[in-house]
């Protein structure tokens, strides 16, 4: 579990995050949503330690990232997997090389054990047969799956995903969402997903944190979002006619998915 308490972050005197508090639960898909410029990327970067907050605390199962010594931060990072918006795969490495990378850098396993684990992760994301291809030779969706395989190679306790569906077609987006959701439940990972894909919000949002103008405005799950009275959240999630119709339908007929049963 990750607990964020009273997080404040500003740039050049302009406060981007105002006393944000949130809890990200283990074994659940935790979504951070909000408009562009709302501060969700700053929150995500603060969570993974790429930005140092002005004040507040970020507790990884009780360990405060903000006040932690650098050596402990280095150790903590071995428990973190991250999926970047652009996949961030190493261009000079093959698919197999990318997945093997964290295993080579941070474990004392033999080459055979590393290969076995890498092949297992590649199989888990359904990429068998692409091991020897370079990132430039595979599609965007496949790159995302390689990035997921790399992120889970070390059995992380925490998985962060920045806009995992960015640039993907709707069908591939659903595949990635389902993969992230399955992995989260299967391995009991604390998964934090930064997104403004409404399909993800309504499809896998077990714990949704809505950030608006740097404030945490709303917390709930994908079933509660249909009945929220929060005007900014309604405007954001149900902005299109299609999603407005979905809301009307679900409000009238009830939700078919229950987050706890997933």
């Amino acid at each position: 579990m990750i607990e964020v308490k009273d997080l404040v972050k500003s740039f050049d005197g302009k406060t981007v995050l105002h006393d944000v508090s949130a809890t990200f639960y283990t074994g659940k898909t935790n979504l951070i949503i909000g408009q562009s410029g709302s501060g969700k990327t700053v929150l995500m970067k603060s969570l993974v330690g790429l930005l140092q907050p002005d004040s507040g605390s970020i507790l990884f199962d009780g360990r405060d990232l903000v006040t932690m010594p650098l050596d402990d931060v280095k150790e903590l990072r071995k428990e973190i997997g991250m999926l970047f918006q652009g996949s961030a795969l190493f261009d000079s490495e093959t698919v197999l090389g990318n997945v093997m990378f964290p295993l080579v850098m941070f474990t004392d396993k033999s080459r055979e054990e590393i290969l076995e684990r890498a092949h297992f992760c590649i199989k888990r994301v359904n990429l068998v047969g692409s091991e020897d291809k370079f990132p430039s030779e595979i599609s965007g969706g496949m790159q995302k799956r390689v990035a997921i395989a790399r992120a889970i190679a070390l059995n992380p306790k925490y998985l962060f995903c920045d806009e995992p569906n960015s640039g993907l077609d709707p069908k591939t987006s659903i595949i990635i969402d389902e993969l992230l959701s399955d992995i989260t439940h299967e391995y009991g990972i604390t998964t934090v997903i930064n997104t403004h894909d409404m399909n993800s919000v309504l499809g896998i949002g077990e714990n949704i944190i809505f950030i608006n103008k740097g404030y945490r405005e709303w917390v709930g799950d994908m079933t509660q979002i249909y009945t929220t009275a929060n005007e900014a959240l309604n405007d954001f999630v149900f902005a299109t006619e299609l999603f407005q119709q979905v809301k009307n339908y679900v409000t009238a007929n009830g939700h078919t998915k229950q987050p706890d049963k997933q």
């Binding site: 993974v48 330690g49 790429l50 931060v73 280095k74 150790e75 990072r77 071995k78 973190i80 991250m82 970047f84 918006q85 652009g86 961030a88 795969l89 190493f90 261009d91 990378f101 964290p102 080579v104 850098m105 941070f106 962060f160």
Partner: protein, 249 residues
């Protein structure tokens, strides 16, 4: 303002270098990466060095002969002057200015692209010291391989002059070869090799620094590449003066 900015950049460079010269997490990975960089930065530069050196060696020989017209100056002076120009300046300073363009832009654009595509962030989040992981193998590889490039440059430049003697009537082969051997000072070779080590370090570290701190997109990678080449070229010229003063006087 210019002084403040320069000092701030120098300070940032020092902090960057402090991170670069940390102990590698995995010596095996470091060794493999260094060998790969020797191939990419060093061995891949050999054809360029050979082509440039042959032509410049030939041009130096022709120009020397055409400018030495006095009957009081012996004819073998062409070989001697060609050799000393190559040993003292061309094989190290001029060669490194040329390599600053090729290798420097290669390094800055590679690391800059890794920055804008979040590959460096990915390394940092994994807990890898990205400065050390990416830059140290490049610096070690290029500094280690530079003396070989200098020696290749010296050899092929003198061959360029020899070809002029062989295929033209400007100077005879015998006099050219006699000139190459006349009044030879071994220290000139060491002087060139020592200078080249400093220049190799400047090229690799400065280009890496500009690439590492790129912000933005493709345009900024191009700008960082240019800044890296310009800055390392200016530093090479500055250190050329300082090292010449220190080593030859």
């Amino acid at each position: 303002m210019l002084i403040t900015n320069s000092l701030a950049t120098f300070g940032r460079y020092c902090l960057f270098i402090k991170r670069v010269f940390a102990i590698p997490d995995r010596w095996g990975v470091f060794a493999r990466r260094t060998i790969a960089e020797i191939s990419k930065l060093g061995i891949d530069s050999i054809p360029l060095v050979i082509v440039i050196s042959i032509f410049i060696g030939a041009v130096i020989a022709i120009q020397m002969q055409l400018n030495i017209t006095s009957p009081l100056i012996p004819a073998y002076s062409t070989g001697l002057a060609t050799r000393d120009i190559v040993l003292l300046e061309f094989s190290n300073s001029i060669l490194c200015l040329i390599l600053a363009g090729k290798v420097g832009s290669n390094i800055a654009s590679e690391i800059g692209t890794m920055r804008v595509t979040e590959q460096i962030d990915a390394l940092e989040i994994m807990g890898v010291n990205s400065c050390n992981f990416l830059v140290l193998p490049k610096i070690v590889a290029f500094v280690m391989f530079m003396p070989f490039l200098v020696i290749i440059c010296i050899g092929t430049s003198l061959i360029g002059g020899y070809l002029v003697a062989l295929f033209t009537e400007i100077i005879t082969v015998t006099k050219y070869i006699y000139g190459l051997q006349a009044f030879f000072q071994e220290w000139y070779v060491w002087y060139g090799l020592i200078k080249s080590l400093f220049f190799a370090y400047i090229i690799a570290s400065v280009a890496s620094f500009y690439g590492y701190y790129v912000k933005g997109g493709a345009l900024d990678v191009g700008k960082a590449s240019t800044d890296g080449v310009v800055s390392s070229s200016i530093l090479i010229l500055l250190f050329d003066v300082l090292l010449t003063k220190l080593l030859l006087q």
